[in-house]
Symmetry: C2
Subunit: 521 residues, 2 copies
Amino acid sequence: MRTLPSYVCGGWAEGKGDLETLVNPATEEPLARAGAGGLDRKAALEYARLRGGPALRALTLAERGALLQAMGDALLAHRNELLDLSVTSGGNTRSDAKFDVDGATFTLAAYAEIGKGLGDARFLVDGEGIALGRSPRFHGQHVAVPRHGVAVHINAFNFPAWGLLEKSAVALLAGMPVLTKPATASALLAHRMVEIVVEEAGLPAGALSLLVGGVGDLLEHLGPQDVVAFTGSSETGAKIRALGSVIRHSVRVNVEADSLNAAILGPDAAPGSETCDLFMKDVMRDVTQKAGQKCTAIRRVLVPAPLAAHIRDELVDRLRSVVVGNPAEDAVRMGPLATAHQLRDVRAGIGRLAADGRLALGSAEPLAGVGAPPGKGFFVGPCLIEVEGGAAAPTVHSLEVFGPAATLIPWSGVPAEATEVVARGQGGLVSSVYSDDPTFLSEVVLGLAPFHGRVFLGSGKIAEQSPGPGTVLPQLVHGGPGRAGGGEELGGPRGLGFYLQRVALEGSRPVIEKIVGIRSG
Amino acid sequence: MRTLPSYVCGGWAEGKGDLETLVNPATEEPLARAGAGGLDRKAALEYARLRGGPALRALTLAERGALLQAMGDALLAHRNELLDLSVTSGGNTRSDAKFDVDGATFTLAAYAEIGKGLGDARFLVDGEGIALGRSPRFHGQHVAVPRHGVAVHINAFNFPAWGLLEKSAVALLAGMPVLTKPATASALLAHRMVEIVVEEAGLPAGALSLLVGGVGDLLEHLGPQDVVAFTGSSETGAKIRALGSVIRHSVRVNVEADSLNAAILGPDAAPGSETCDLFMKDVMRDVTQKAGQKCTAIRRVLVPAPLAAHIRDELVDRLRSVVVGNPAEDAVRMGPLATAHQLRDVRAGIGRLAADGRLALGSAEPLAGVGAPPGKGFFVGPCLIEVEGGAAAPTVHSLEVFGPAATLIPWSGVPAEATEVVARGQGGLVSSVYSDDPTFLSEVVLGLAPFHGRVFLGSGKIAEQSPGPGTVLPQLVHGGPGRAGGGEELGGPRGLGFYLQRVALEGSRPVIEKIVGIRSG
């Protein structure tokens, strides 16, 4: 069986010592081994800093954008192979696989386009020039220049393709070399994508490194110009933030962590309306897509109390018909969880959520997956936990169960009460509100805003175009305060800021304008 | 003797238990006592969150700006009293006192003006609307709304006036209530300023709280919507970052810490030129102003090797003539350090710097201050430490001595070598380069940029208007990467971002535009 090598210091290198076995989550068939024991992580960082950094900074933003385009083109040429690998290695249905793989190339293309628009500059001009003195000669101008370190990316298991490339696209465009570490369990896809990019996209040496296996002592070697972007659990995010190297050198850390995303149905969106239909469709998608393993998935469903029983029955009906099993089978609509560990966590979590209310559908018991070998695969069925209106439900508002489970919370219909309930989640990535009542929407949207990175306004009027709140778009920021980690990624050109140092130039206007103008030479 | 009360939960409250005695640093005469034992810090935060927050958020940005104006007007009416208090309680010359007190009211006025310009909005629109779908109906718009927590400000001893108000101005304009904690040693001035503001500026209840004394358990009660802005030592900054509450709730922390700011003399700026004169003046100012107790002060002076002896002799001559003593005396040009603790640290630091080279002027020995009682006052004389060209000088590039000391480093005249030497400081607030050679300037300025929050371009052409690199202007960002703490304050409207949550609104264009438009109603 193959051992996945890492790509560090300009070459492929296999780890030594203990190796982890990667399996197909639907069949538990072993696929590959992975481990990074004995790899010199300090040298890998130094190679990226000293080779990749200068090479990227020497390129214009348009040239860096062209590299992203070349990466996207290379990956697109292998799309079917990548989708197949996503199905077998990630427990994804073909639709789930497209969501990850096509989302990755879409994001690359979006940042390639931003790079093109930024043209011949090598750094960004930030805002207008500022007259600082009595005469216009004494002048200030902010610019944002690439940091001279490495962008270390630590990704979650659920989106090996998108996680790899949404982060890399932004860092590379900004001019920082990337060392990316996928979650080991789903590293096969990320590994193959890096292999394709290395072979076919013509990146400068040191621009992109890959560590397959444990993080080891990697983060101990971070310096003051490095940055870390992490997606995963709050616990791991907290450990990274508390590292001596990170604190000592003020290393920038971006964390995307847990989030109890809410969907609120407005009292005006009666069952049968297009807006209510969109709400049902979005909830259904988020419970089942990738078996609920999406950081943006709807976890809490707030419904006006008089509608709660109706919505519950409707959701239970629809969820009950979802075929769960081996995504290699055509009839299967929802695959397994990604790992045995995830299955254990999700089952325990469903039990804890149910203690706050009652299970209207599903259970924490294991499930036999359609088309999976008997007793094999990490399957759990869709679950809906119904809470009583006004209940404290402390677990519902604090525990993210990373699987196909949502809670249903009846609420009064008063806007401020909905936002108060949602805010108990202590900060999230995205919440959504489904209504066509502008007054209601205004109150709820502005009430939710301080607690989120994104607020989605669901309406029949956008139903045909909307990918739903669970889809992260490269044009909009992704991240959220508090429990969600306090981070911010993407958002078009906004995302570049994390990888740039903003600096004020202060002095004589003609000289500063000449220096800033040099960027376009 | 008076005990300084804190202003919390809408009233003045004296601390119990151990009290610290505040003294005149030139005479060691006791002035007041301070301590916050027994004060309920959790309740103070909660009062600010629940009373101050909603009151500020209900105001428009123009109305918040008008509050800043009222604060500035009130303080200006007490200017002479405040300057006198700064001299007696802070060891400041009258010129130093103006730098702190007038800098504070100038910054208030600048943010009052920004508020006026932002008009009737209650939150900020961030960038243009974005077409997300095939039709323009599916739309995205970023906004930035006030966070619902408290802005906790922990300030350094050196600028009790400016530190209090530069931070408060930005937070209050953004719509967040402030709980400010001055350094106890110089709290008399900050206390008096808050007293004046509370009595005369008409702030809403809970908008501004003051804690005089130890931080105690204050930071343990931080939540996910709170932010902390800290100015002081790297050690304390690191402790704040590592706090469980901060990490658990992704509390935003801004740190301004140590910085080994450099001044580079260009090979073209011959002695006698206006640009070289400005360089000499700026170095002189930064060594002596506030006895070197400025986080932006020039610590490392890089001079082309052939000029090093000349510049050294000139600086030694000028520094030797500086009269050090009790700033109440007219002849005195430089006061004492702020505390006995600072004196001990600075003396030890001078000894350590001297081990990297040799003392061209001054010593670590105590000094009798002119006009101070015999044996009293925390005086040290100006020091210049000369390093050999090409020496590793590890302490010179890593130890910030927070007093009237600078190091003189001869260098080759090659731009890349100057930026390499400066970068050994691992990130700073501001460095400056004095030259009129555009090619040299461009290379050095862009080389320094990634390692700084501000780069100052010194030239005879701006000499009449320039306040020098050591002066922080509200229009330009203040902060720096790495050793400098990785923070960013001020920068005009940029500073507001720290106190706001950026959130993407995603949905139907007319509805989003209506909601965003409501801000101007």
